[in-house]
Point group: C2
Chain length 308, copies 2
């Protein structure tokens, strides 16, 4: 009646930005992501409680979205859910992906439900679209109802250097931001078209372990997503001064021969993609940028799993 | 055989970003601008020299583009051209607009050529597209071969608060940047479409002196231009950390009731549009932003003119 699961947040190299179905949370275009080891959420689900409760990092939260996932799984019993992030919460590091992935896996285990990885991924998706990719883990593609892992984390020894560029929560959630972009940005259709062209190229580069190719593609895909949001009416500006500082610092590093490229989710933080051998140098570069609060050096991680 | 002219740089509220004819410098979409009093260039042209020479702020420069303007005017005599900017040169403040406007007007005066304002505007355009608007001055629209003044500077007592956000010259010129955007950005066609929708609305708001309407439109139009450039391949990033700092500072000011909106040309500097009564407060706000080097409070100015 109780189970504990662990899952990792992920960063998309071909972004998910816009739903073709708001109700079912189905994306307009397929996305590619990698889970990050340090961005880890641990969630316990205990069934048979008197009422639903959801505790996140020691604070009580509204259990409504968690209940929607339980309902979708066919779990009618009330649940006591306790979730803990091993990384800064509320800093805009996409903890909803790892959180809903761990929740879906823990809830099904607690209820004794046998679910395939695809079914678990589809279930997590009902809480947060990108959670579908965190269930799959590793290098994952999400296209329709569930994400699938294309390559395990061991496929490529990359590092993802996360520069925390603000401590305040962002003004506009990803959910609201992507809907607003889809409804008002004159660039949105072209962004979706670009994602459809980017994905097959990204998969080729991933298979071939072509860092420069994938890095350039990921950086441009991220800038296009932010440009789509900037073109919304009214505009969505997710960046802080430090975000630009990090972008320029990486451009400078590349001119000096250190191969690192940026991706940025719907928030101010920048994630630099580089070879493991360059991670320390990239970390030092980003720590020196004015306004950067902290830097985390992450390696690829696997999917969501039940703890024994 | 010698004449001196003065002209002012301008800032566009509906941007010019993309040529339909690279040779003739004709824009894809019409733009709206205002000349700024403090951004002033004074240029003297003396005909009958032994060879062309061009001195800008005391430095000798290549006279090739100036010669193209003289040729277009039918002036075959060699010219000694001396130009001086009353504002920071090489800081990315669009001195080519005021420079070529003053050059065209001074050269025709020196040669004793009688030219209509339209003809002078078209001539300056051959040096730099936005120079066509600086010849017209005031609130000017440039659509085809020349710009025309729609309202004189006295029409509206606004201020344009220029925050200098970097001291180094930008990496990519406007000329190269707009060509690169047109050729590689999947958002470019949508940007041009937006400009065509924005201009008639902007002219209505200008006629009605609707500051909030014009401010919101101008800020969004500028962000769309930068988003178009960001989406180019490889991306064009004109912003510095201070640019984002200024954008966020203006958003904060608006929440507190000070009505000021941003526009940004193809460079890092931000220009805040506000009522004259608010200029001091906006100046103080922008001076406090980390990375801002200087702030200039400009009023609307007129067109290019020959000095007596």
């Amino acid at each position: 009646m109780k189970a504990i699961a662990v899952a990792h947040a992920n960063i998309a190299l071909v972004k998910y930005w816009g739903k073709r179905d708001e109700e079912l949370i189905l994306p307009e275009a397929a996305s590619l992501s990698i889970t990050l080891d340090l961005l880890r959420t641990t969630t316990s689900v205990e069934l048979g409680a008197r009422e639903d409760s959801f505790e996140l990092d020691g604070r009580s939260e509204d259990p409504a979205r968690a209940r929607a996932v339980l309902d979708a799984a066919g779990i009618r019993e009330k649940a006591r859910i306790v979730s803990r992030n091993a990384f800064p919460t509320g800093a805009g590091l996409a903890s909803s992906a790892s959180g809903f992935a761990a929740l879906a896996v823990a809830a099904c285990a607690a209820a004794g439900l046998r679910r395939t990885p695809q079914e678990l991924s589809a279930l997590a998706r009902r809480g947060s679209g990108s959670a579908a990719r965190s269930v799959a883990g590793g290098w994952a593609v999400w296209e329709d109802e569930s994400a699938r892992q294309l390559f395990p984390p061991e496929h490529w020894d990359l590092r993802f250097v996360v520069a925390i560029c603000a401590q305040t929560p962002k003004e506009t959630s990803s959910r609201d931001g992507m809907r607003h972009s889809r409804e008002t940005s004159p660039y949105h259709a072209a962004f979706i078209g670009q994602c459809r062209r980017d994905l097959p190229r990204a998969l080729q580069m991933l298979a071939a372990r072509d860092l420069r190719g994938l890095g350039e593609l990921a950086e441009r895909n991220a800038l296009l997503m932010h440009a789509d949001a900037l073109a919304a009416d009214p505009p969505l500006l997710y960046w802080e001064p430090a975000t630009i500082g990090c972008l320029r610092a990486l451009h400078g590093s590349r001119r000096e021969g250190t191969e690192a490229w940026a991706t940025i989710d719907a928030g101010p933080h920048l994630v630099a993609i580089c070879a493991a051998a360059d991670a320390k140098r990239v970390e030092t570069t980003l720590r020196a940028v004015s306004g950067v609060k902290d830097v985390l050096v992450c390696a690829p991680a696997g999917g969501a799993r039940v703890l024994p």
